[in-house]
């Protein structure tokens, strides 16, 4: 069964494969870890397919920026319920580096964090099956906010400033 995820507010089948899932498929959009990307950068650059890369919490966003135009997807991994670096990574990617592709939250992603993730600029979420149906509503947990944000696709208006 294909992986389901929440993307741009809709539950969809994932059209991306991780490297371990992509054996024998040379055309499907491919998600790499940073190590996989860095280890064989020239090979991946030469391939005619869409590429994505996932950052671990400790990775600096700057590691990707020389090639940022080559990525159609960037992921940030959350290692557990207390991990919070991905929120800053997302904002840096969207605001400083103007990354406009798919920004995906992976790892420990639950409905309770979704609202904050979306406001930082994530637009796709790998959720466990137990949370995925409820996740849509979680994006609308709060109808107002005090901060500017990167969630242009969501029906949230900033009132102040």
């Amino acid at each position: 069964m294909p992986r389901r995820l929440l993307r741009d507010g809709r539950i969809v089948d994932d059209d991306w494969l991780y490297l371990a899932e992509a054996e024998g498929d040379a055309a499907a959009p491919l998600i790499l870890t940073l190590a996989e990307w860095q280890g064989d950068r020239d090979k991946w650059l030469a391939q005619d397919r869409r590429l994505g890369v996932v950052l671990s919490p400790a990775h600096k966003v700057e590691l990707l920026t020389p090639d940022i135009g080559r990525f159609a997807l960037i992921g940030a991994n959350f290692s557990g319920p207390s991990e919070g670096r991905g929120y800053s990574q997302a904002r840096e990617l969207r605001e400083q580096w103007k990354f406009a592709g798919e920004l995906r939250a992976t790892g420990y992603v639950r409905r309770d964090q979704l609202f904050f993730m979306a406001r930082c600029g994530f637009n796709s979420f790998e959720l466990p099956e137990t949370d995925i149906e409820a996740a849509h509503a979680a994006l609308a947990t709060f109808s107002r906010a005090y901060q500017p944000s990167n969630d242009a696709g969501l029906p949230l208006k900033l009132r102040r400033r």
Partner: protein, 550 residues
């Protein structure tokens, strides 16, 4: 004071619904203990020794009489008839039932209150000077800036899962009554090179296991950049603060390990990206917030001498429990929550209701919580202080000890807190029993005793003139004593005098410290000044000279 508009109301109401659903899922087994822990902690709910503990936010310590009445009513109906005010100007309930917490939050929302971000690894309630707006030594009222920070930090999407908790204090006066130098970030209102108002920004202060005084990151920040600069500090901390060791996760450790120069360089580099973003504070917004803190309708009154010709008891109370006000004819009045047989900071439901009524009658319907765990009426007519005192006295709220030895700061200690190693409430009682002679207390003058039941230092023991720290020695409660700490503008960390002492020996130890002080002091020297002049040695020699009588 600040009043909610539709946006604020919507947000707290939606939070109640969110937390109600999270609690339901936990009770239904859909969330694990650990998953729920991260969620409930961001809503002020701890699971403690006896029961859950719920901490309710009191933004920069300011309450309306309506809010205080609601707090009293909640204490009576959901708790055991009392609440505990904390050193960060909040209130804690020690006996709520988990399944009732969503209902408590719904009632709080009705009076524009909440428990959002009062615990957990996120930006906590912003604290401030309890004399804000009324003290003669103030450059500008810090509360509009506190409210600006409150809104910016509430549900800030990027900083909801920081390496560790994050506390901000703002002060605008020469005297620092908010302990801003031992906060993660201290914001001081200062004048810039051309006389314009802006901020000095400190970072990396904190107590706990590794007490550190905050360092200046920026000497002068133009006021329109306050939020973008805080955001830059928080981002550097969120990305680079340690997450592998809970004891090294506060920003103070990051600032210390990088050095303040390198920390500043990183913050400023980050700030370049954000300083002109949507976070710029525009004049209209700050004017709107200032409008909530306009002075009340003071009457045109002359200064008087209310204590003249009155009883000794009133004169003592007036001298210690009231303080100067910038408007002639007015006085700021402390309501002491340090009665000898009551845990410091505790107040009953009926006392809360009485204080609310008195606030309406004497102080424009507002009450403040001080970081020293007392309450305050900021705007009392001098000529009404006598009748106010009479009522407070009957209610046990006029103990004339503000700023003296028995105005102790204390955490709840082992009796209520699952983190504590040792009791603090019963030690406070032992100290009160020993030092019950007011003439002696007044002769000792300004003296701050601060007591924590464990290394987490909720009772700020490091910055007490005398600090008391509970430690566990093979299952027994012992106490380590420090002297020479201070939390004000001249903040310093206390020094340990020697081996820890048994619980019963704490009062005798303090008595010996005070003997040395009384013998060696020069005119107008406080205990703190003598410790700074002489060092720890003479005090230490006296304390350990012979076994203390138990």
């Amino acid at each position: 004071m600040y009043r909610y508009d539709a946006v604020d109301k919507t947000l707290v109401t939606e939070r109640v619904a969110q937390f109600r659903d999270q609690t339901r899922r936990f009770l239904a087994g859909e969330l694990t203990d650990d998953e729920f822990r991260h969620l409930r902690l961001r809503n002020g709910l701890y699971i403690q020794r006896h029961a859950p503990m719920l901490r309710v936010a009191i933004p920069y310590g300011l309450l309306s009489s309506t809010q205080l009445r609601a707090l009293g009513s909640i204490a009576r109906r959901y708790d055991r008839g009392y609440g505990h005010f904390t050193t960060r100007q909040n209130i804690q309930y020690n006996w709520p039932k988990l399944e009732q917490v969503p209902d408590i939050l719904a009632e709080l929302a009705e009076v524009e209150m909440h428990a959002i971000q009062t615990s957990g690894n996120c930006i906590r309630n912003t604290t401030s000077d309890h004399l804000a707006g009324v003290t003669p030594d103030e450059l500008e009222d810090p509360r509009p800036w506190c409210e600006l920070i409150r809104q910016w930090s509430t549900f800030h999407p990027e900083f909801a899962y920081l390496p560790r908790k994050f506390k901000i204090a703002v002060t605008g006066a020469a005297q620092d009554r908010a302990a801003s130098q031992v906060h993660d970030v201290g914001v001081h209102i200062v004048r810039g090179p051309d006389g314009e108002l802006g901020f000095e920004i400190l970072a990396g202060g904190g107590l706990g296991r590794t007490p550190i005084i905050g360092q200046v990151v920026r000497e002068f920040l133009p006021r329109e950049h306050l939020l973008s600069y805080l955001e830059a500090i928080l981002r550097v901390y969120n990305l680079e603060g340690r997450r592998d060791n809970i004891h090294k996760a506060r920003i103070k450790i990051l600032v210390k390990s990088l050095g303040v120069e390198e920390f500043r360089r990183r913050v400023e580099a980050e700030w370049v990206n954000t300083r002109d973003s949507g976070l710029r504070v525009d004049d209209a917004e700050i004017a709107r917030l200032r409008g909530f803190f306009n002075p009340p309708a003071y009457r045109n009154l002359p200064d008087t001498e209310p204590a003249a010709g009155k009883s000794t008891a009133f004169r003592a109370w007036y001298r210690y429990n009231t303080t100067a006000h910038k408007v002639p004819g007015y006085r700021a009045v402390y309501i002491s929550l340090k009665k000898p047989d009551v845990a410091p900071g505790d107040i009953t439901d009926t006392q809360m209701e009485l204080v609310a009524d008195l606030a309406d009658r004497y102080s424009f319907g507002e009450v403040r919580v001080t970081h020293t765990q007392n309450l305050m009426f900021a705007d009392v007519e001098q000529d009404k202080t006598f009748e106010l005192w009479q009522t407070l006295e009957k209610a046990g709220l006029a103990t004339p000890n503000i700023g003296t030895l028995t105005d102790m700061i204390s955490c709840p200690g082992l009796d209520f807190c699952s983190l504590a190693n040792a009791g603090s409430i019963d030690v406070a009682k032992l100290i009160n029993d020993r030092f019950d002679d007011y003439d002696y207390l007044y002769d000792l003058g300004e003296l701050e005793i601060k007591m924590s039941g464990c290394m987490n230092a909720c009772g700020h023991h490091h910055v007490g003139h005398i600090g008391i720290l509970g430690v566990d020695k093979s299952g027994e409660e012992w106490y380590q004593i420090t002297i020479g700490g201070a939390a004000g503008a001249d903040a310093s960390l206390g020094e340990v005098i020697g081996p820890s002492v048994r619980k019963m020996e704490v009062p005798e130890t303090i008595a010996r410290l005070l003997e040395v002080y009384v013998e060696r002091r020069q005119p107008n020297e406080r205990f703190l000044d003598v410790v700074r002049r002489l060092g720890v040695k003479p005090f230490k020699e006296r304390v350990y000279a012979a076994p203390a009588a138990a």
